[in-house]
């Protein structure tokens, strides 16, 4: 919200509109003042010259941002002439406003050599008029006073310009940081997906190998020629072999360097072992299994195990001496796992990091539900519901 207001106010068109309005407003004010003031002395008369000068030291403000140097030269000239003409009286206050704004604009909208050019021109044009004013009877101090406020206005402009630039830099840095964080998060997700893919490839390859063995066995045990049957069995075995070979290549691509391979991919049947390991690490764990234990596809089995494993690892790492409840619920169409602890309350991202990403990815892949977050009375809860296919034939 704030950003959009700033964007709107900062947009160039609006600014130019405002400046134009300011210039016209100030010009009208000057004309009215010129026309109505009882004492024309401060204008040095009430003629066409004064009208021109009144316009000359206000209207150029419309261009104060785009052509600050031209603006300041015009306004200083017109204003200076008014000062000289009005001397020994003080010049009208519109001169003051116009020249201050013009000087400020030099500070705020120019930089480097152009800035010094602007300042130089400003004083170069204005000084002669100040001297002329002193010559016309104005006290020298009053004649030279503009130097002070013009310098001040310019300085203020320069400071504000500096601040604006620094803010812009900071905003860019912030944007870059946010982008980097996003990239890192994406990378983490990719790594997790690679790991999950590798495990599933492994499981699949083992199952396909088993199919090949069975097809080979069937062929040996089959009696008689039976060419059709044998051809079918050969096709199964052949395709299976090719599949395993290809998976072996894929495995090389997504391989990690974590030591693995000599024990099979785990499943919910291995939870007892996992829980007992966690208990010997000092955690108090309650394991509950509800519902009728049904055989799960290796993908679901493995994912469910990994979710529990990851959740328990997080408890060990972050919860500080807690009690953990692990619940596995078998239903007809899904298996649910829940890991709740009552330890130190924590946010999902604090240290959860990659673990939670992995869990989320696995559940998403299987089309299930996943929830993880702080519990109302402290601690953390992880919940996952994985659909399983209907009963096998």
């Amino acid at each position: 919200m704030e950003q959009s207001i700033r964007d709107t106010l900062g947009s160039a068109r609006v600014r130019r509109g405002a400046d134009t309005g300011l210039a016209i407003g100030l010009a009208l004010l000057a004309l009215v003042d010129l026309a109505l003031s009882s004492d024309a002395a401060s204008w040095g008369g009430r003629g066409p010259l004064q009208v021109c000068l009144a316009l000359g030291c206000t209207l150029p403000l419309a261009w104060r941002v785009r052509y600050p140097i031209a603006t300041v030269v015009a306004i200083t000239a017109a204003g200076g002439l008014l000062v000289a003409v009005a001397a020994p009286h003080q010049a009208p206050f519109e001169v003051f406003i116009g020249s201050v704004l013009a000087s400020y604009s030099i500070g705020a909208h120019t930089s480097g050599r152009r800035r010094w050019l602007g300042v130089g021109l400003m004083f170069g044009v204005g000084l002669p008029f100040m001297v002329a004013a002193a010559g016309n009877g104005m006290a020298t101090g009053n004649a030279l006073a503009p130097i002070a406020w013009l310098t001040g206005a310019w300085a203020v402009g320069a400071i504000i310009r500096g601040r604006r630039l620094r803010t812009a830099e900071l905003e860019q840095l912030t944007a870059e940081l946010a982008q980097q964080r996003d990239l890192q998060a994406q990378a983490a997700v990719a790594v997790e997906r690679g790991r999950i893919a590798r495990e599933l490839h492994d499981v699949v390859a083992h199952n396909v190998s088993m199919m090949v063995v069975q097809a080979g066995a069937a062929d040996r045990v089959l009696e008689g020629d039976q060419p059709d049957v044998r051809r079918a069995l050969a096709a199964i075995a052949g395709t299976g072999r090719e599949t395993v070979d290809e998976m072996r290549l894929l495995l090389g691509v997504v391989r990690s360097d974590a030591g693995e391979g000599l024990s099979p991919q785990p499943g919910l049947g291995d939870l007892d072992q996992l829980v007992s390991n966690v208990r010997s690490a000092g955690l108090h764990v309650d394991l509950r299994v509800e519902g009728e234990r049904s055989p799960l596809s290796p993908g679901v089995d493995l994912s469910a195990y990994r979710i529990v494993q990851e959740a328990l690892t997080n408890v060990l790492k972050h919860a500080e001496s807690a009690t953990v409840e692990v619940t596995v619920r078998y239903a007809n169409d899904a298996v649910q796992v829940e890991v709740c602890d009552d330890g130190r309350p924590r946010e999902p991202t604090a240290g959860g990091g990659n673990g939670l990403i992995g869990m989320r990815e696995r559940v998403a892949m299987l089309g299930g539900e996943f929830r993880a977050g702080a519990r109302r009375d402290g601690g953390f809860a992880v919940f996952a519901r994985l659909p399983i296919a209907g009963p096998a034939a």
């Binding site: 066995a217 069937a218 395993v244 000599l262």
Partner: protein, 214 residues
């Protein structure tokens, strides 16, 4: 009759192999195991001739189980089975004492032939790739005083063994009878304390009897 022990954590794989092997007249499956611990126990109980060992099993893995079985029953031959023939596991299997290494998806005739090969141990199983693997994964050669115990002819036989030649091929090369070769081989293995030809290949590369590329 060759007695076999099948060790694999997948029941359907065991069942499939059982069907294949039992149809062969001189092969008989006498026991099965679904994890490494059970494999060791069953091997000790039934004393088979050849063990078909899945490399990847729960509780105790295939390589560790192989080591344990061979310590208890040095005469057993272990044929290692795997889904992926990843090199590093093959080497570990040989160093653990396996006599051969096979993919589970190997066609049945080749499976049966492999069982015969490691049982008769006249030849290496898949000699070219076995040799290549051992050669690729050999550490820098180390001296072996036992080599001095060998006669010149026995050292020659060892060199040819390490190149993966069968007994028949060695006989042809040295122009002697195959039976002579057989006794030479037996003496070489006994003197060097090696259990079979595969170990001879490993030994030869480890101790510089054969250099990579020969």
């Amino acid at each position: 009759m060759i007695d076999l022990l099948l060790a694999d954590d997948q029941a359907l794989v065991r069942g499939g192999f059982r069907l294949i092997l039992n149809t062969e007249g001189d092969l008989r499956v006498v026991a099965e195991a679904e994890d490494g611990d059970q494999a060791v126990a069953e091997a000790i109980r039934t004393r088979p001739d050849v063990v078909l060992m899945d490399i990847r099993m729960p509780r105790l893995d295939g390589i560790s189980a192989t080591r344990a079985i061979l310590e208890a029953l040095p005469a057993v031959r272990v044929l290692m089975l795997t889904t992926f023939d990843l090199d590093e596991y093959v080497i570990d299997a040989f160093r653990a004492g396996a006599s051969g290494f096979l993919l589970k998806t190997v066609p049945p005739p080749q499976l049966i032939a492999a069982v015969h090969t490691v049982y008769e141990s006249d030849a290496l199983l898949a000699p070219a790739s076995t040799r290549r693997l051992i050669e690729q994964h050999s550490p820098a050669p180390v001296e072996a005083p036992e080599l001095d115990e060998l006669t010149a002819r026995e050292r020659e036989v060892l060199r040819l063994l390490a190149r993966g030649l069968t007994n028949a091929e060695i006989a042809r090369t040295l122009v002697v009878e195959p039976s002579t070769v057989k006794s030479h081989v037996a003496r070489v293995l006994a003197k060097l304390g090696l259990r079979d030809r595969v170990q001879a290949v490993v030994f030869a590369y480890d101790h510089g009897v054969v250099r990579p590329g020969e």
